[in-house]
């Protein structure tokens, strides 16, 4: 290349431009959350909001908030919302979906709400094959009431109501919700993901997206179980709590796809 040509090409070199890589999703409200520092509820909220943004569902979505730490979830999502009685979010979502079949209805429930008091509602909603999406946050403890033993507490885990660790001879075994609901014919999508590091957070977002797509395709009931942390009630720093979730919760609650109907598998292959 001649010196002149090089000078010309040099002139054309422009300054690098700044590209927006990541911003707060629009489906999240401006309110500050009341969650403890490092609580993965915030991550789950953000992932749902990102998926609603990507699928363009903000105007169509209806959130059914639970009772538990996420009781004020309707303050944090910029979508329509309703507050259900304790454990009854899937029942309320059933009604909302049946009268508004064009809307996208999802519930956001913790383990006390879904696995304990609301287990009948979620099972019968899945049995009926209601076309709703359930986001289930499993942190192995009752968060809002002060860290008591939940149905999902893992054997040997110390909580305020099991100070010597959960004794399976007395209180039974942890409840595996994703496996349980995968056995029902009305369920279209039942998976378990974790939120303990960035790789798993990205996988969790894909699962939430697929769950909403299952609802948009009217395939039936979809549930995403998210392994989550509770730094305050586990008595750990946020980072240690995520390590504890990785080391103790994942062996008890293996991650994976427990039921994916064929229509969703085809779509995934085409993508």
């Amino acid at each position: 290349m001649t010196a002149l040509a090089f000078q010309r090409s040099e002139k054309k070199i422009l300054k690098p431009i700044e590209k927006l890589v990541y911003e707060r999703p629009h489906s999240l409200d401006e309110n500050h959350t009341h969650y403890c520092p490092g609580c993965t509820h915030g991550i789950a909220h953000r992932l749902i909001a990102e998926v609603l943004d990507e699928l363009g569902l903000q105007e169509k979505a209806i959130l059914v908030a639970p009772v538990g730490c996420a009781v004020l979830a309707y303050n944090y999502f910029d979508v329509d919302g309703a507050e259900a009685a304790h454990g009854r979010a899937p029942a309320m979502a059933t009604g909302l979906k049946r009268v508004n079949p064009d809307s996208v209805v999802f519930t956001y429930q913790g383990d006390g709400d879904l696995a304990s008091i609301g287990i009948a509602e979620v099972i019968h909603t899945a049995v009926r094959g209601e076309n709703i999406t359930v986001i289930f946050i499993n942190n192995a403890i009752y968060g809002m009431t002060g860290g008591q033993m939940a149905p999902t507490t893992i054997p040997g885990q110390v909580t305020t109501s099991s100070p010597n660790g959960r004794d399976t001879a007395q209180t039974g075994y942890p409840m595996q919700i994703a496996e349980l609901l995968s056995g029902l014919p009305g369920t279209a999508y039942s998976v378990r993901r974790s939120l303990h590091d960035t790789r798993h957070i990205i996988q969790a977002k894909k699962a939430i997206r697929t769950a909403f797509e299952a609802q948009l395709q009217e395939l039936g009931f979809s549930i995403v179980e998210l392994l989550s942390s509770c730094p305050t009630n586990w008595g750990m720093t946020p980072i240690k709590a995520l390590d504890w979730a990785r080391d103790n919760m994942i062996p008890q609650y293996p991650l994976g796809d427990y039921k994916v109907v064929d229509e969703l598998k085809k779509k995934r292959r085409n993508r």
Partner: protein, 84 residues
């Protein structure tokens, strides 16, 4: 390596340090000052300009208080320039 920068919503930050744990470049630090909620918010160490704009901090942030920008070149550099 790519260059980036992040903008942190200081009042929203709760100082949980999950972004610090996720950052591969180790350029995030907790501030010595407190925000209005009484937490020590995180800030970007800018003097070395080592942030690559990978957005892993934003993916790990539970309070969605991080906005990420990355510098993208508009034209490729001439080989004679990159060889220096």
């Amino acid at each position: 390596m790519a260059k980036g920068r992040i903008v942190i919503d200081v009042e929203r930050c709760k100082g949980c340090e999950l972004c610090r744990d996720a950052c591969p470049q180790d350029v995030l630090m907790l501030s010595d000052k407190f925000n209005n909620k009484g937490y020590r918010p995180v800030f970007l160490l800018e003097h070395d300009n080592e942030c690559t704009g990978c957005a892993l901090c934003a993916i790990a942030c539970p309070d969605a208080c991080i906005t990420v920008y990355r510098q993208v070149p508009q034209r490729r550099l001439h080989p004679a320039q990159t060889a220096v």
